[in-house]
Each structure stands twice: as C-alpha cells, then as structure tokens.
Symmetry: C2
Subunit: 215 residues, 2 copies
DNA sequence: CGGATTTTTGACTGAGTGTTCAACTTGCCC
DNA sequence: GGGCAAGTTGAACACTCAGTCAAAAATCCG
C-alpha cells in the first residue's frame, strides 16, 4: 500500500487496466499459472511497462486481493442486527448468490488462493475476515438464543452459505457440464432452492407449525 | 489407459509411489504449480525415472484423476432408491463430510482442476459424472413427487451437498483460520449443523408438524 | 555364471518466464 | 519552443522446469 493513490490520469488508467487484466488472468489460471505476458497483453501494455506500475507479479496479486476484499465482504457486513433474523440471513444468501452470478472472477480468484493454502493472504483471513465473521456469528447466536431462528451453530451456518453460493461461481464449469444451461437461468433455480433450504433450516419450530397449518 | 496394469513388482511399487506423491503435490499446488522435481523427490525417485513410468507430467495428472474418480463418486452411487429417502440423503451428506475429513487431498485435487475450468477432465464431467448425477436426481425427484421428502430441485440439492461438505476440505485453510481448532473437532460441529440443515429442508411438511408436536 | 531385459540416472537441451536496464518517446509546464 | 519528468520498450539476463538420451546399474532367467 505504498503507492496506492495515482498521481496522473495515465497512472489511474493503466493501474486500473492492469488490475482488470490481472483479475481476468489470475482468476482463470491461478497465481502460478498466470504469466506477466498474459496480463500485459490483456491490459494492452508491454511487460516491462506493467512492471513500471507494480514492482512484481506478486505485488499485482496482493494489490488485487486487497482491493477486492472489502467489496467481497460487504454483504456480510450488511447483515443488520436490528433486522428480522430470517429475512436478514436470507437476504445475505441471495446477495451472495447474486455476486456469484455477477462476479464469478472475483470468487474464483479467492477460491484459487485459498484452495492452495492462502499463501499470500493468510493475514487477511485470520485478521479482518475472522473479526468480521466472529462479530456476525455473535449476532446470529443471539438470534438463536432468543428463538428468532432455530438453534444452529452460526459459524457453520456462515460457512455453508459461502459454500452453497460461491459454488456456482467456483465450480461453474462443473455445474454447466451437468445442467447444460443456455445462459444463467440455472441461477434462478439455485435461488429458489437456497431460499427453501435456509428458510426451512432457520425457521423456529413454532413458526414451522404455523407454516404447515397454512398449507 | 494404455499401460495400466503393472508387469513387475517394481513397476507396481513405483507407479503407486508416483501417484501418491503426485496426489500430495498436485493437490497442494495445482497442476501448473506442481513440478516434476517435487513429485520425484516426494516419491523417492529421480525425475527421469518418474518419466520412465509416465510419459509426461500431464499423463500423471490424468492417471491420478481417472484412478480417483470412481472412489470419489462411490458415495453418490451408494444412494439407494429402495432406502428411506431422508435417511439415504443424510447418510450421503455425512459420508461426504467424512471424505472431506479423511481425504482432503483428493477433494482439493478436483477442486483445483475444476476451478480452473477442468481443462483435463471435461469429458469425465459431461460423461460419467453427468450420467450418474442425472440418474440419482431422477430418484430424488421421485421421492419428492411421492411426498417422501419436501419438494426440492434434486440437482441443486446435490450441488449444495457437494458444496457444504467439500468446503471443509477445499477451504480448510480458511475454516481453520476462523475457527482455530486444535485438530479436527470442528468436523463434529459441521456434522451436527449439516444434519439439522438437510433434515429441516427435506422433511416433508406433514412430518415437520409431528416433529414440532413432539417438542 | 552370463546374456538379455528392465530400471535408474547424470548431464543436457530448449522453451518459458520474472525481472532488469539503458535508451527512447511522450506529456507537461514555464 | 525547451527542458524536465513521466512513461515506454527491445534486448538481455538469470533461473526454472519439462522432457531427452546415452550409458550405467540392477534384475531376471537359463
């Protein structure tokens, strides 16, 4: 984070082009599989020129992950302790699924990094990510203890939400290989399924009986 | 699958050592990140000797994935159309979670491959995997239509089971960074959570009322 | 043992790749 | 326009790494 703010229009444009290209390339090939040549070509720059803006391949990767982390965690941050418990969690699920649909490259970028042991972002995980998750887990635990939702372990609930939503971005190839959709219409089916899954799991037993009686 | 069956004891031993080493290395570093030197050293062989048994790095990778695919899909194959619907699916979930605990390297091997677009196993996905999944999805759909389980989309149910269970292997680094467990005890919490999650989502409404009445 | 076959390896090759550097060009400002 | 800083690049360097090869070693078998 030494030279983060650009000084000239050219710097702003080229730095942005490099990060956009890096997102494209890193998310598809992983850190090791990506080459500076690919990034440079995708960004429309020469390889030495890329290294004029970032000192190394690794610096690009770290800058990219750092820049994206905030946006990536925003939906969880938005979980409102004052809101309706089930609504809040379901909104989080659907928001994450939307992100898997609209930002699959970002999802795969993090997936690649974490599957291989998060060699470059371990501090972020045990740092701000853990802090945020523990914070939100406390809220969810409160909801469970006051009967607003069924009693579930909040950490495992969060993990399952990450898993089920990001799956549609990270394992997109597999999902498409099996469903053979035309475009993105299978995301609607996923949304319906996940709504049912989490609504059923979170609705407290009392409310579940009412729900059954209505049907 | 040209020279699959070993002719001598030495071939059997060395081929096995190479595949074991390749699993270790590929699952941690991905295809591109793994080197033949690492595999050779881990296997206790010289690099040219490794290439005496397999013609290329890619051949090792493909052989490994092919060999493991059957074991990897076995739990889904075991889903019994004659069994109790909820029990069968819950047994599948817990079986997959056990595999994530006991065989995390295998899980990460496939995860690495698929995240990067499955360049080497696309045929397996659209072939035997799709066939098996479609087959089991038909069974699950039957259960839903006859009211043995709640009406859910079977494909998305299967995806969610893969996602929630393999998450503990593929994203192990992240899970441990947040939970900071001593060993594997968090898998017990995961099992309890997933049992609740899928039991709640799959139990038909009628049975749910009974369950509520009992409580 | 002795010869044929299988297995092993050190040394090498050639392609790919991250990074450096000195020279060149462009843009900016007085 | 002129001078200085910012931006750009071709060429080269150092290193990694998949794969080759010919020769040596080990194993097998009569």
């Amino acid at each position: 984070m030494a030279d983060s703010r650009p000084k000239t229009r050219i710097q702003a444009r080229n730095r942005a082009a490099i990060l956009e290209a890096a997102l494209e390339v890193f998310s598809q090939a992983g850190f090791r599989g990506a080459t500076l040549d690919q990034i440079a070509t995708t960004a429309g720059l020469s390889k030495p020129n890329v290294l004029y803006y970032y000192p190394s391949k690794e610096a690009i990767h770290v800058a990219l992950l750092s820049d994206l982390m905030d946006d990536w965690l925003e939906p969880l941050r938005a979980l409102d302790p004052e809101g309706d418990a089930v609504d809040e969690i379901l909104a989080y699920v659907l928001r994450k699924l939307d992100m898997a649909r609209e930002m699959p490259r970002e999802s795969r970028l993090f997936a690649n990094e974490i599957v291989q042991g998060a060699p470059r972002i371990m501090p972020m995980i045990t740092g701000e990510l853990k802090t945020l998750v523990d914070d939100k887990a406390r809220i969810i635990r409160g909801w469970a203890e006051t009967g607003m939702i069924a009693p579930v372990d909040p950490h495992h609930l969060i993990f399952s939400i990450w898993a089920t939503t990001q799956h549609y971005a990270d394992f997109d190839t597999q999902v498409r290989g099996i469903l053979a959709p035309e475009g993105d219409e299978h995301f609607d089916g996923a949304a319906a399924f996940l709504d049912h899954l989490y609504r059923a799991a979170l609705t407290p037993l009392g409310s579940a009986v009412e729900r059954a009686a209505d049907a």
